[in-house]
Point group: C2
Chain length 279, copies 2
């Protein structure tokens, strides 16, 4: 967890949860302040963003929405009805990771941030869309690799500072098909996802706040049927993820701002979210 | 439901749900098309919005968050834990109208739009903040009146086209106090809210998509302990509301864009929402 060249004693005295909550940048700022340095982040002027169109990147959630495990994870009851009460009001029971949803660091770590601990400024970020639809169409186990990132950068320039990298595998269009979970006879899923090497590359060599997939798992289905390497590495590093994102086909590869409107629920490991792009 | 001077036969032939779903403006456009007129809305170029700062206007939701009825409306269970499973994943049970949340038209109408039917473009709108904190501090039954709207316009100019009008009564700061619900010995609540005449004024004389309050009810507590006049009139007109909004003190009276990131749940009458302002 210690950034290169920092004072190990300061790092070791800071709790891991504290570092995760404050975010890596502010953790660095605290170290800088201890050394009498000016934290670069505080000095930077706020960047202006512009938009004229709003895109909804959220699937509608319903009873029977596909889940990674195949279990039913969302139920609606109607205890208050127009007919009986002249008011409508429903009760939901749900597992947090259903529908288009967020993964908070706490989902795959012992003490990582829950959704409510993530600064709202870290949930409104530039979006880079990586299109692997052609490869995924013929290979449901396709991975988004570091080479895909480099190919995107060759066309679009460096990944924007503090961005979200989203995989467009074409899976958002398969919601009504058995292919969406890709479950085989052995109970293993076959869906595209980030390669473990890509998570490591983005953590070590780029500035990325979140990753998003249009499938049910940040990991490829096969990997997440086993040891979830991307989930543990990415979320364990204090970063967030979005699963089952929709609507990426309509967005430019670069230039949109992503709004990850996750549920502000105390201690939540994630949850159904409204995901929006401003273009 | 018929706009002034329209052809009654056209209005009567259109279904109420259809008009509500399409929105009043598009309903008008359909009428105009029938008359061979050019709908003004379609010809308007997309307006550009700018922002450099993101504000979270959402209370953290937790078990025991105050509710209008006093019942417990949010429960968390932890069936999957780090200790047992090396993954954290919770189950929620909730009534839709808890925490900082949206009211969809369906909440107080027979066939109005559910949350998932509202166009995302109608949930990202200019925000007008009306400050009645001084009056509300000495009167928990204070109402936001048409005169308050006119006083705001005298300073800030006309309400922006398609805006949200938000009441800042100071109640967001009372979340931990019995004043937040203001429940008296007779079980009636005392909290500020919109006056029924204000709802009628905004529907008939201004272009407003939604209203928001920092209390638990669009209506004043006393009114909503009885016949809910604002709920029935406002939501019944096909417009939305936000209740228990937070953070309005930090916003300008005019100039912010509001993002009402409601839950995209099929048939939902409302639900916990992430409310964000872009300034």
């Amino acid at each position: 967890m210690c950034p290169p060249n920092c004072l190990h004693s300061i790092c070791e005295n800071a709790s891991r949860r504290g570092l995760l909550k404050a975010g890596f940048g502010i953790g660095l700022a605290a170290v800088s302040a201890g050394l009498g340095l000016q934290p670069a982040r505080a000095a930077a002027p706020a960047q202006e963003h512009r938009f004229s169109k709003v895109h909804d990147l959220t699937h509608t959630l319903f009873e029977g929405f596909p889940t990674f495990s195949g279990e039913k994870w969302f139920t609606v009851e109607k205890p208050v009805t127009w007919e009986k009460d002249k008011v409508n009001l429903h009760r939901w029971t749900l597992m947090e990771h259903t529908g288009t949803h967020m993964d908070a660091p706490l989902h795959f770590s012992e003490n990582g941030m829950s959704v409510d601990m993530i600064d709202i400024a870290d949930l409104v970020v530039p979006l880079a869309v990586i299109d692997i639809r052609e490869r995924a169409a013929s290979d449901p186990d396709a991975a988004l690799t570091p080479d895909d990132i480099k190919a995107w950068e060759a066309v679009n320039g460096p990944l924007p500072e503090g961005c979200c990298v989203a995989m467009n595998s074409g899976w958002h269009a398969l919601l009504d098909s058995p292919k969406f979970t890709g479950r085989d006879a052995e109970g293993k899923n076959h869906t595209p996802g980030f390669h473990a090497e890509t998570a490591e590359f983005l953590i070590k060599e780029r500035s990325v706040k979140g990753i998003a997939v249009d499938t049910l798992s940040l990991d490829r289905g096969l990997a997440s049927s086993g040891d979830f390497p991307v989930h543990y590495q990415w979320l364990g590093s204090g970063r967030w993820g979005v699963e089952a994102i929709a609507g990426l086909d309509d967005l430019p590869a670069k230039g949109a701002m992503l709004v990850v409107a996750g549920p502000k629920v105390r201690g939540a490991t994630g949850g159904p979210s409204r995901i929006i792009a401003l273009v």
